[in-house]
């Protein structure tokens, strides 16, 4: 005969009173929007007609949306891994250096910058023009050191039938055979008057035996001048490599003088084509097209890593300081190398923290929006697009199709949910 069990503590009704504010807020700010989005996602653009799952179907049939999914996959695979690994490296290394705090401070600094501002900064960093973009300034400077003199990029023959030479596979080649005794004229254009202002005036090759000719810029400031003839103001091109070609074989090669003239003393008979190889005209490096369709996603991921690596480092460093030192000491006394200590002791002990950072980053990356919106120029936005940005665009940016936008939002929610659940499970386990 058991006595009726007496309740300890306040009644369930009291519990509900205290829960009510939180429940209300949660319902108004979380549950209702989700439910409304779900219902909106099965309606059309106007919100009046029920379309079933058509919007979800459109996500997977529209090529532009498929690109956003592809990009999100790239983001999720690359960004969290890079951020976590970099954070781990920084955290472990900063443990050993004297100015660790200063170093950490600098690395953490980007976190204090809003993503919007970070986007603006990196838009400039990736600018194509090396005078503006730091990334290309470094690349072109390094390449410039190794490649040296570049010749005359931009110089080319006139593009018409009367021009005595034409471009062939990048090289300038005379159209007619040239014989010794008749100096050849190879007029070029495409350099600005300012670029050639300091050059020596062009002169026809002096009379004499051997194949000869002149290479010069056949334009005059302000226009005018005789096309195909050397006018007094026109400038010769010095140091251009000229090859005399007979059939397919190069018979001789020489370089032009300061006044643009050249001479092959050894070639006194026969007829040749004159060729100015492409090496005379190669443009100096213009750097990498960061903001082009091919590199845009890696470039934006770079900016993302810049922002978040410091955050990962701080979290991992905190975890690192909580590792029992005696485990590390014991391993070292047993003769483990530093690499073995790192791999077999530090990383396994850190794994809970690493996992939290990694999963947090995945969730964070799935909703990436602002960096893509700001860094990618309009013309490559479709190539850089991600689901969150596409969601905003179809809902509010022009199309006004909030049915489709809601479907994308729900799709994003479904993608995030497993990671959320995973994180919550971890937290629960930690609490026990």
């Amino acid at each position: 005969m058991a006595a009726p069990r007496a309740r300890l503590g306040p009644s369930p009704a009291m519990a509900w009173v205290f829960l009510a504010p939180a429940v209300l807020l949660l319902a108004a700010w979380m549950v209702y929007p989700i439910v409304y989005s779900i219902s909106r996602s099965v309606h059309d653009a106007s919100g009046n007609a029920f379309v079933g799952l058509a919007n979800y179907g459109a996500i997977f049939s529209d090529p532009a949306t498929l690109v956003t999914i592809r990009n999100n996959i790239i983001w999720v695979v690359v960004a969290p891994l890079v951020v976590t690994v970099l954070g781990l490296i920084f955290a472990v290394l900063t443990e050993r250096i004297r100015w660790a705090t200063a170093f950490k401070l600098v690395l953490f600094m980007p976190m204090a910058v809003s993503l919007l501002a970070a986007g603006v900064i990196f838009r400039l960093v990736y600018e194509q023009d090396p005078d503006k973009g730091v990334a290309n300034a470094i690349i072109t400077t390094v390449q410039g050191v190794f490649s040296g003199d570049q010749g005359y990029p931009g110089a080319r023959p006139r593009e018409n039938d009367a021009a005595p030479a034409a471009l062939r596979e990048g090289a300038v080649v005379t159209k007619q055979q040239v014989q010794p005794g008749t100096p050849a004229l190879i007029p070029l254009v495409g350099l600005s008057p300012d670029a050639v202002a300091g050059f020596t005036a062009a002169r026809p090759a002096a009379a004499g035996p051997g194949l000869s000719g002149t290479i010069w810029i056949d334009t005059v400031r302000g226009g005018g001048g005789t096309v195909g003839a050397i006018d007094p103001q026109e400038r010769g091109l010095a140091g251009v490599t000229v090859e005399a070609v007979e059939g397919d074989t190069v018979r001789a090669a020489t370089r032009t003088e300061a006044d643009g003239s050249f001479r092959f003393d050894e070639l006194t008979s026969g007829s040749y084509l004159l060729r100015l190889p492409q090496s005379n005209f190669t443009a100096s490096s213009t750097g990498v097209t960061w903001l082009g369709p091919a590199l845009i996603t890696p470039a934006i991921i770079g900016a993302y890593v810049w922002v978040w690596a410091g955050f990962a480092m701080v979290l991992i460093a905190a975890g690192l300081s909580a590792i029992p030192r005696d485990a590390l000491e014991a391993a070292r006394i047993d003769g483990a190398t530093e690499w073995q200590v790192f791999r077999k002791i530090t990383v396994p002990l850190l794994s809970p923290v690493l996992l939290v950072v990694f999963v947090t980053m995945i969730i964070n990356v799935l909703k990436v929006f602002d960096l893509v919106f700001i860094i990618a120029p309009g013309s490559v936005q479709p190539d850089a697009n991600v689901v969150a940005l596409e969601m905003w665009r179809v809902s509010f940016g022009g199309g006004g199709n909030q049915g489709m936008g809601s479907a994308l939002a729900i799709f994003l929610l479904l993608l995030v949910l497993p990671f959320m659940a995973f994180n919550i499970r971890r937290f629960r386990r930690d609490e026990r």
Binding site: L116, D370, S379, W392, R393, G397, G398, G399, N401
Partner: protein
């Protein structure tokens, strides 16, 4: 865990609130309290949203200050950012729209009218429109037989800006036909080592403007109207012709500063800076509003920076206009009074005296404009009358003609990237047009 979320939300909030309301010109608000009694709208607060920034915004605020001085109403300017639809959409949805909005596209007038978000203009405003505008402009601001909007600012889009020094150095001359532009002017410039064109490929609308001029001139106004309404498919041979003409520029590496890849990363107004500031190219094909960017780059308009009318490609001399349409989103006394003021001769002439403004109002005398150049432009618009065509991409549904990375913007950018694939571009344009015009 929590920190990144908060930071991200903060960052997003910055993005979202980019167009926070800023108080209008201080001189305007200062003028209000001095003569409160005499003014009909004293104490009334009006919010007006437009996409203008910088000098355009400052000039508009001067006009608003004049309105405040006249009526006593306090006007607050809210910047919408580049994408007006993205700013207004949520505010309309939330039922807290600004009193007056200035829409950059007539397509939006139609779209918002369908959503019942616009208020029909009051009798006084309609009277001003009948007095000051040709029927063509009234038609543009109407939807479903109701007049909702008034074109307050026009942009002349059939122009080519060039750098005088570059033309003189190369010995190039203005061209009156497309063939001369490509074969003589551009070729001479390229031969003299100056890339002739600085294209703003990252801003898709500049490419649609170029297309519209070429198309209007080569295919004629009748076809232009049909294509704008999508009664003519984009796969039509007339479109092929226009794209072939454009490929004469796009397809030549020497003709485009930075080549196609460079142009696609260059937005407006950077392309203007490249011509007048960095002096790297000779011409930029865009509207009259290039003037303010050119002036900021240090060029004197009319001397260093000159214009030539867009050359004829076919039989028609092209005159394509853009423009901003003011609409009322709230049926308030203040909103209608402001629209009436903006549509009036009085308001137009105050605005006309400021640089960078062109009025479609036929009663605003060209004498008001500060420069000879603007006076000529105004005259062409007024005298062309019914023959003028409005920017086609702005007449299209905005998902087709006015959205970054979609529709016409995207396909013309792809065309700049690969000018050989004319048929592919036409097919994709047609596919997108078919989808968006249907809705």
């Amino acid at each position: 865990m929590r920190k990144p979320a908060i930071l991200l939300i903060a960052a997003l909030a910055v993005t979202a609130c980019g167009g926070e309301a800023t108080p209008s010109n201080p001189s305007g608000s200062a003028a209000a309290p001095t003569a409160t009694a005499a003014k009909p709208l004293a104490g009334v607060k009006i919010e007006v949203a437009a996409k203008w920034t910088g000098e355009e915004q400052a000039n508009f605020e001067q006009v608003l200050a004049a309105f405040t001085a006249k009526t006593g109403a306090e006007v607050v300017y809210a910047g919408t950012g580049e994408d007006t639809g993205a700013y207004l959409g949520p505010r309309i949805e939330a039922k807290t729209p600004p009193d007056v909005a200035i829409l950059p596209q007539p397509g939006l007038v139609q779209q918002y009218a369908d959503m019942n978000a616009l208020k029909p203009l009051g009798e006084n405003v309609r009277k001003q429109i009948d007095e000051n505008y040709t029927p063509y402009w009234k038609e543009l601001g109407s939807a479903g037989g109701q007049v909702y909007g008034v074109l307050v600012k026009a942009a002349h889009k059939s122009l080519i800006w060039y750098r005088t020094a570059a033309f003189e150095d190369a010995g190039a001359a203005e061209a009156s036909t497309w063939d001369d532009l490509i074969g003589k002017t551009a070729q001479t410039l390229a031969d003299a080592g100056t890339p002739p064109f600085s294209l703003c490929g990252a801003s898709g609308w500049t490419l649609t403007d170029l297309f519209e001029n070429v198309y209007l001139s080569s295919a004629g106004p009748a076809n232009y109207d049909k294509l704008a309404k999508h009664q003519l498919p984009w796969t039509d041979p007339s479109v092929t012709t226009a794209l072939q003409k454009m490929a004469q520029i796009f397809g030549k590496q020497d003709f485009v500063l930075g080549g196609a890849s460079g142009a696609l990363q260059t937005d407006f107004p950077t392309c203007v800076t490249q011509v007048y500031g960095e002096k790297k190219a000779a011409m930029v094909i865009e509207a009259d509003f290039v003037a303010s960017a050119a002036a900021q780059s240090g060029a004197t308009i009319g001397e260093d920076a000159k214009i030539m009318p867009f050359p004829t490609v076919g039989d028609t001399t092209p005159v394509v206009l853009g423009g901003d349409i003011a609409v009322a989103l709230k049926d308030s006394e203040g909103a209608m009074a402001l629209l009436e003021f903006l549509a009036s001769k009085e308001g137009g002439e105050i605005w006309a005296k400021l640089p960078g403004y062109l009025s479609p109002n036929r009663n605003v005398s060209p004498d008001n404009y500060p420069s000879e150049l603007t006076r000529q432009l105004a005259q062409t618009i007024i005298s062309a009358g019914e023959a003028v065509r409005y920017d086609m991409s702005d007449l299209a549904p905005s998902a087709f003609g006015g959205t970054d990375g979609k529709g016409e913007w995207k396909h013309l950018q792809d065309f700049l990237r690969d000018p050989a694939d004319i048929k592919g571009v036409q097919d994709r344009l047609e596919a997108d047009a078919a989808k968006t015009y249907k809705e």
